[in-house]
Symmetry: none
Subunit: 203 residues, 4 copies
DNA sequence: GATGAATGAGGGTTCATTCAT
DNA sequence: CATGAATGAACCCTCATTCAT
């Protein structure tokens, strides 16, 4: 009845569910998945831990749902950005800007993703993490290599390595970025792009 | 004779202890602290879990010892590099080079540090993590600001933010760097410094 | 409806809780607190040891609850007896009679109290033991000293010491009194009061 | 070579042994047998816990030795007192006086005996506790019944019950008697005998 | 005599999960 | 939908004891 179309993964929608997912994302982002108990989550939701199982089939299912919807949204937007076209540099800038915007809008999901990815990627049921990561990498990397081909990016740089440096610097921001301390996603983007484009050295 | 009383933390040195620490570091780096059990560690050491407590007072004490000796060594070397003098740029390059070298020589400790830092820093008994991190930040940051003052680094860049981008890009490497796949600490350093110094854009 | 919030200590009342408390009191009285395991208690209750923690936060909490309710009831009744008034001798006799009645009605709690008091009184969380013991001592002692003042009790006797002798003789009875062997609380009381009042010597 | 004659129970004598026994008695008296670990004992003796097993075959053996030598000495002295003869009243007074003297000279052994007796008496290897207790009871009881027969003690009193009241009042003193607070074994004896002989009531 | 490393059993406790109500 | 009781497995840790050195 409340079941949506999206294949296989059962996704019942309700306020309670969304509330629980939000709470779980926050706690897991802060303490880590293993260190967060279903009781912690239930307590914050104001119910008993056993009652969580009316909404989710398991603790792991909560995590899957958080990450799945996060990654689906992220990949979708990245694909849109690429589809909207532009120069490799413009597209890369937009990808980066969207990453910083995502850090600002969904810090819990991003933090959780950063912390748990390495452990989860090999776990059964989380194969989608690796798949989506590869697709995102392909999108970004294409801009860099294309930029090198057309001469806008220096080609002395190893593109896959550059991608990883960029990716890690951007997403790690979630660990220290706190809104309302003089920085916004926008200023972070500006600073990062300035450094990335022109480098640290004065001419 | 084999007893070290350096620093008051670790009481005794022995092959067994070092072996256990090494095993624990590897497992914790791979699975996370919460998800690594003392039985896992003991199993790999070929002893019973209870026997671990002949060498360490608690699971947490193992983690403390790993991180404490790692951070003490790291901070010590960073301080040496600064003490050896040079231009801000040269010193910063050396700091970065040493970070990549550390990733190569102690990937477990670095990985563990990257994954658990945010959770641990506020835990009692782990205050030294925050303290050492701040001292390292101060060392690195001083090079950047000094470089800006003398004009070798562009001063349109916000130094603390630049530091964080650099730090995160460098240390996150531990999550994907695998020796013997065409890269070494040295080539990683070269690639990173090239990108950092001159930026991504062609002139 | 079944929830009592009397006193803040015990949170919830239920048959299960009471049953477990009763079992625990019996086992601890027989074997001692340290030698009684939560598994022993759970086994007798017909549940798994972990399930105990649905009802109590810790093994210690069970002990606290046993002792707290025991001492609260005891002190309350003693205070009532004093409040009902009478001559010091009558009141002291009634206090003693109630002690023997308590030994008969709650042998486990009394036995447990006798065995574990000296160890527990200094433990954190059990301060109420010492406090209540002092209040009971004050009640009893007041009767003895008042009796000496009005001349009904011989005043060659050191009252605090006499109190301790009386107290110990009475409560220690729990260690050997077995109902249905020719003695009841009532005959014990009679025997004790006869000896206490008139002494062992014939005139 | 250091083996003494006393049959069956191996009793090697040495300063170390005596020191350990003394430490163990003190700790067990304070915390209880179950709550006292061999490590606690070894720590206070300045050796490692495993090294205790060069002196004693088990933790239980230490306890046995403490109690065995304590009870042997006690029973022996009680038998001497009876053998020395005198009126039932004089003998009973001397027995009581010796009990208080023992509390003063061997508080740990007495305290340990008081606390652990009920649990230990049924344990294999501790049958001597019950046997000796019965022989002591017989000695004391004989004085009371003989005193009643010759008319020096009131015979309205049930002798076995009176014995238990006396025994418990006397030995329980160990739980609160602290030397150097205005009382000695001698004054305790005087107070107790005064109360016991003449009772609490004024004529 | 003592050490230091280890054992094996068991300690109290936590936790994800189930299910009758 | 939620509760409350329970499960079963696992967790970290303790302890008496053993034994080669």
């Amino acid at each position: 009845m409340a079941t949506t179309k999206s294949g296989g993964r059962q996704e019942q929608s309700s306020e309670r569910r969304d509330q629980i997912i939000s709470i779980a994302a926050r706690l897991i982002a802060k303490r880590g998945y293993s260190a967060t108990t279903v009781r912690d989550i239930a307590d914050e939701a104001g119910i008993l831990s056993g009652s969580l199982y009316h909404h989710f089939s398991s603790k792991e299912a909560i995590l899957q749902e958080i990450l799945h919807s996060f990654m689906a949204g992220l990949l979708g937007r990245f694909e849109e950005i690429v589809a909207e076209g532009g120069s490799p540099r413009d597209i890369l800038d937009k990808l980066i800007a969207h990453a910083f915007a995502t850090i600002e809008s969904q810090p819990d999901a991003v933090g959780l993703y950063q912390n748990e990815l390495s452990f989860l990627a090999r776990q059964p049921g989380f194969e989608f993490l690796g798949e989506n990561s590869e697709r995102i990498e392909a999108l970004w990397l294409a801009q860099i290599t294309e930029g090198q081909k057309v001469g806008v990016f220096r080609d002395s740089i190893d593109a896959p390595i550059a991608y990883r440096f960029i990716r890690d610097a951007v997403w790690s921001t979630v660990a220290w970025y706190r809104p309302g301390r003089g920085h916004t996603a926008s200023t972070l983007t500006d600073n990062f792009l300035d450094l990335l484009h022109k480098g640290l050295l004065a001419d």
